[in-house]
Structures are given as C-alpha cells and as structure tokens.
Symmetry: C2
Subunit: 224 residues, 2 copies
C-alpha cells in the first residue's frame, strides 16, 4: 500500500443513471431481457449489484428507464402536416423501434409511460384533433392505432423468436406438414411466413393504411 495513489484501486469512473440505462439496453438487446438482472448488469459495468441502487430506485424503475430511453426514438407527429402521413410516420417509427429492441414491446404494455411516450401520445391525439376528428372519435382512433401497432409488432416478434429457437419443435413440424390435415389453413399460413420477401415492412403498412383510411371514413361520416 505504497502511495501509488491512483493505481491503488482503479480511479473509479462514477456510475450514472445514463450509463446504467445504456448498459441495460445493450445487455437486453444482446442477451435478452431475461439476462437483465441487477447482478449481471452490475458485472457488465464492473461494479457490484447494490451500487446500481444509488442511481435507480429499483428494478421496475430500471425497466421504466430503458423503455423510456427506447421511446426517445419514436417519431413525434407534428400537427402541421398532412395528418395521414404524420400518423403513418409515427406509427412506423414505433413499429421499427420496437423491432430493434425486442424486449420493449412487452414492457410498453406493462410499464407506465414516461415523458417520451406521453409527448408522442399527446402529439398523436393533437394531430387527430387538428385533422377534424371529434373528441369522441379521437379517443377511439387513438386506441385503434396503438392497438394495431403494438399488437402487430408483438406478433412478428413472436414468430421471429419461434423460428430463432431453431425450429426445434412446433415450427418445424408445421412446415413439414405434420398437421396439414388437422390445421390445413394454419399450415399454409406458416409456410407463407417463411416466404422470402414476406416480412418486409409493407405488411405492417398494409394494415396501417387500412386503419387510417377507415378512420378517415368514420370522420367523414361516409356510409360504409
């Protein structure tokens, strides 16, 4: 214990909420959300688990933090432009962000929204109101849009995780046609999922357009 005085122990670059959240996100991205434990995260940061609690209230707060950080990537629709393209842009950005962070789509339905999500939600509502939607219809439109966006994304991620698990079981036998008599349509559906260009974003946008156009028709009172 001479006075090496800077080498004695490492100089201790301090933690911070930002560093922790960033590490948590990349850990969740790379190793999956289940690998995100306080101990493992601390280890990744070269620190002990309990030290994290100086910057984060508890694990739930940590989860709030990472989903909020991810939500920063959401495009906030602007009230000025064409409402349909603004709604589309924003919805697509949410979809793509959630695909980029596969752990996020479940947290979005669980954790309470922070500023980033609130800001986008408010802007989305405002865009609709500005486009002439009644207060009542805006309420419904908001839910319909959000339902579709996260529901669709979860569905894609679900299929994706199934076939990432190496087709071990169900997926493989479906493609093989083991259930072709019991579930003929589902078998075909599973095969369609495997077609090359199938998962290009256009599928998401097809449903999105269907919804946006439907909302416009509701707004205009066009009889069905």
């Amino acid at each position: 214990m001479a006075k090496k005085s800077g080498t004695k122990t490492e100089p201790r670059i301090p933690l911070s909420r930002e560093r922790i959240l960033a590490a948590a996100i990349s850990l969740a991205d790379e190793a999956g959300i289940d690998a995100l434990s306080m101990r493992r995260l601390a280890q990744e940061l070269g620190v002990e688990a309990m030290s994290l609690y100086n910057h984060v209230a508890n694990k739930d707060d940590l989860l709030d933090g990472i989903v909020e950080t991810a939500a920063t990537e959401f495009v906030v629709p602007s009230a000025g432009g064409d409402w349909k393209s603004e709604v589309r842009r924003s919805a697509i950005s949410v979809h793509e962000t959630l695909l980029r962070h596969p752990w996020a789509s479940n947290l979005v339905t669980t954790q309470k929204p922070g500023p980033a999500r609130l800001r986008r939600g408010d802007a989305l509502l405002g865009t609709l109101r500005g486009a002439g939607f009644s207060s009542d219809l805006t309420y419904h439109a908001y839910h319909i849009i959000e339902s579709y966006v996260v529901g669709y994304t979860q569905q894609i991620l679900n299929y994706r995780s199934l076939d990432e698990s190496k087709f071990e079981d169900v997926a493989a036998s479906f493609l093989r046609g083991d259930f072709a008599e019991e579930y003929p349509h589902f078998t075909e559906h599973a095969r369609q999922h495997m077609e090359p260009g199938r998962e290009g974003g256009s599928a998401f946008e097809l449903g999105l357009d269907l919804i946006v156009d439907g909302l416009e028709r509701l707004r205009d009172g066009t009889a069905r």
Copy 2:
C-alpha cells in the same frame, strides 16, 4: 400407529394435471400472475412444490397449460355462416376471455399456441378463405385482426391496472390536470377514460368493425 388404516395419514386424493391447471388459473385470477409460483400453487393444493412436477414438465409447461385451458373459451368461427359475423363473434370472445383472465393476454404473445388456439386460428383463416379472400390477403387479414384483438385488450388491461393501483401517482395527477399544459390532449384522453359508460364493449367493436369493413373493401378491390 394402531390399525386406523385410513386415518393414519390423509387418504391422499391424487393430483392431476387438470386439478393443477384449474388451481393455477384461479390463483392467477385472484392473486395475479406474479403470485403464481410453484411453491404457492402447491400450498394452495395442500401439497409440496416438487409434487407438481409429476404432472407438469416445468413452469413453462404450466403456463402453456393455463393459457391453453383459457383458450378453450375462445369461440371458433364456423366456415358456414356470414363471415363478418363469424369473425366478429370469435374476436369478441377472445377479447372477453382475455379480459376475464388478465394474466393471459401477455402469455398469449409469449407461449406457443396449443390445440385450442390452433383450432381457432385455423378456423379463422378458413372462414376468410371461404369468404373469397385470396391466400395472400388472408395472410394479412389474419395478422391485422389478431393484432387488433390482443393489442386492444392489453391496452384496456393496462389502463385498468393503472387505476386499480389506487391512482397513487400518475393517473391521479393526470385527472387533476397537473399536466394540462404539457399534455393537453392526453389529459383529455385520460378524463375520457374515466367517463362512466366509456369502457362498455362497444369501443372494442367499433375498431373491430372498422377493420372488418376495411378488409371487405380490400377483398372487393374497392378503390379507396
């Protein structure tokens, strides 16, 4: 240890997968999915945790089991009748079932589907095909419908769990109007959520009809 021979220890009414799943479901319904641990479940059944493993492969299998059991309540659309009302009936039944078992909607996006869900999925696809939807359009329609159904349900459950937590925090201050300047539209939206008749199932059906009608238009090639 005389020959009481039936009272010595309790007669041991045996476990079974069904008894276990039923107990798991009612435990999850009443105490929440987080309370569903192997130990707690065993205790509820008057048994030790490890005994459950004689009837259930592991916890994941247990979860598979309860979501599959819940899925039994889904209405399977029949290919015979009017496709729109069949699709509606089935979608509504899924929505209501998931509301009845709040833990299920997250598991549905996580666990792999068992026979009950496959049967309904296959029938839904078959109903669409029978209604003249092309193979390609059926593929998209299926995803759009399912996305909306589970997305919408999760959203409702999310709001519900927020205000069940006694308005402790965010919800209360929103209704109080604390964020009326920052998030005016969201504040209004939150207030709309609290209006009495607002959560009647008709909101779900409004979006459902929008989607079903939109799909019909796509099928018929009606220019937007």
